[in-house]
């Protein structure tokens, strides 16, 4: 297969899987952050926001150590799956989820915090159980938050570079995502190839963000962050 196509498919696959995991993990986390009075809430929030401020090299460095076959987590993974974690696609998924977590949790948290509580309480007094309330009130009212979280998580994963470079190792078909393929082309002085990939990424990002802002404009909440 064409190496560029391989990189594109790999990137979409990574972003899709990461987004699914981000929503699954991020939703309960965001709900807890929006409603809990726990004293550790701020600490948890700070932990989730860390990738926003830390250089990717810090996260990449720690993950590289954690994923190594000689480390305990690396050995667990090997025992569990029979494959090695370091420099694998699975390692990229784990790294991407950590790196993009704040981009999914933040919009969800804001959405959940703005939910009208009297509505939920009214529903409860009228005999709606927890699942009814989630399905009929929370989900419909939070739809936009979910769209924002998924879009940002997806786009941010596509735009990832530093961590992937450190824990991925530039392996075609396994860890060579678009940003790395572009880096590789620049390094090998393949400028025409690099131009195609770079322009493609610019256009993709513009379209995604325009669509997101356009969808935000239709609502009263003006900011991307909910």
């Amino acid at each position: 297969m064409n190496p560029d196509l391989t990189a594109i498919i790999l990137t979409l696959k990574l972003a899709t899987i990461t987004t699914v995991i981000l929503i699954l993990v991020g939703t309960p986390l965001a709900w807890w952050l929006a409603h809990s009075q726990h004293r550790l809430r701020s600490v948890a929030e700070a932990f989730i926001a860390l990738p926003l401020v830390l250089p990717p090299t810090v996260i990449g460095f720690y993950l590289l150590i954690v994923f190594a076959p000689s480390s305990l987590p690396g050995q667990w993974w090997q025992g569990l799956t029979g494959t090695q974690l370091a420099f694998s696609f699975s390692a990229l998924v784990i790294g991407s989820v950590i790196y993009s977590l704040p981009f999914a949790v933040q919009p969800l948290k804001n959405t959940f915090a703005q939910l009208p509580h009297n509505l939920l309480e009214a529903a409860a007094t009228m005999g709606c159980n927890r699942w009814d309330r989630i399905r009929n009130i929370i989900f419909p009212l939070s739809k936009r938050g979910f769209i924002t979280a998924a879009t940002l998580g997806f786009a941010h994963t596509v735009g990832e570079f530093g961590i992937v470079l450190m824990i991925g190792g530039n392996i075609p078909g396994e860890t060579q995502v678009l940003s790395i393929a572009l880096y590789d082309k620049v390094e090998t002085l393949d400028y025409s190839g690099a131009h195609w990939l770079a322009a493609g990424l610019v256009i993709f990002s513009l379209i995604v963000l325009s669509a997101l802002y356009a969808s935000q404009r239709n609502t009263r909440e003006g900011s991307l962050w909910g």
């Binding site: 498919i9 979409l12 696959k13 899709t16 899987i17 699914v20 590289l64 994923f67 190594a68 076959p69 000689s70 690396g74 090695q84 370091a86 420099f87 694998s88 696609f89 190792g169 530039n170 392996i171 075609p172 078909g173 396994e174 060579q176 590789d184 620049v186 390094e187 090998t188 002085l189 393949d190 400028y191």
Partner: protein
Amino acid sequence: MYRRLAILLFLLLPPAAEATQVHVAVASNFRPTLELLAKEWQSNHQLLISSASTGVLYAQIVHGAPYSLFLAADDKRPIELEQSGTGVNGSRFTYARGILALAAPSGTHCKLAMQLIANAAARSISIANPATAPFGQAAAQILGEVDDRVVKGENVAQALHMFASGNTQYSLTALSVLKHWQYTSEPIPASICPLDTSLYAPIWQQAVLLDRAKDNVAAKEFLVFLQSSHAQSLIEQAGYLREPM
């Protein structure tokens, strides 16, 4: 909807790995040559190529990167891998001897260019990072001291890229990447001066079979091909010395 999503996710699953794939970790200076050799290799097996500086690849291998072969730009790191058991004992050999070359502004006479970089008249020189790239180490040896005229790329290809994009005036890099650049793309005009090999410690480039691929027949087959006279003459044409160690 869920079924469609399930189908989509299924399509995104990786295809079953081919048993005959040889995954080569190659030092950046040799990558263009390796791609040429891969085309010449009469085999139904396939090469999967990852390139970086020798030091970066070495660190990846130590951390468990899934490579079958390591084509380094020095002999130090292959020896270390062999001794630690990460490389297969006895599989190590010198496949090429690297030549350092200077890229200078077009029309500059080579003798003059060498004087210019020696006496600080040159404004900017890009070299590969001496800490991770053997060619960078050789370049540092030529320059004597790495002062603020010197910018470091991660590897020889990046050092050349800084020059090729017009951002540095000179580049001390591998002759092989310079030759490849001159032949293939549309390069900016430049003077290319191979350096006298007596000026720097010999760059013995060694290959080693990695332990995880010790039963990989295709990888061994490629190592045999790499030592064949056909491959060796191609390597020589690409900008290397053919000298027994």
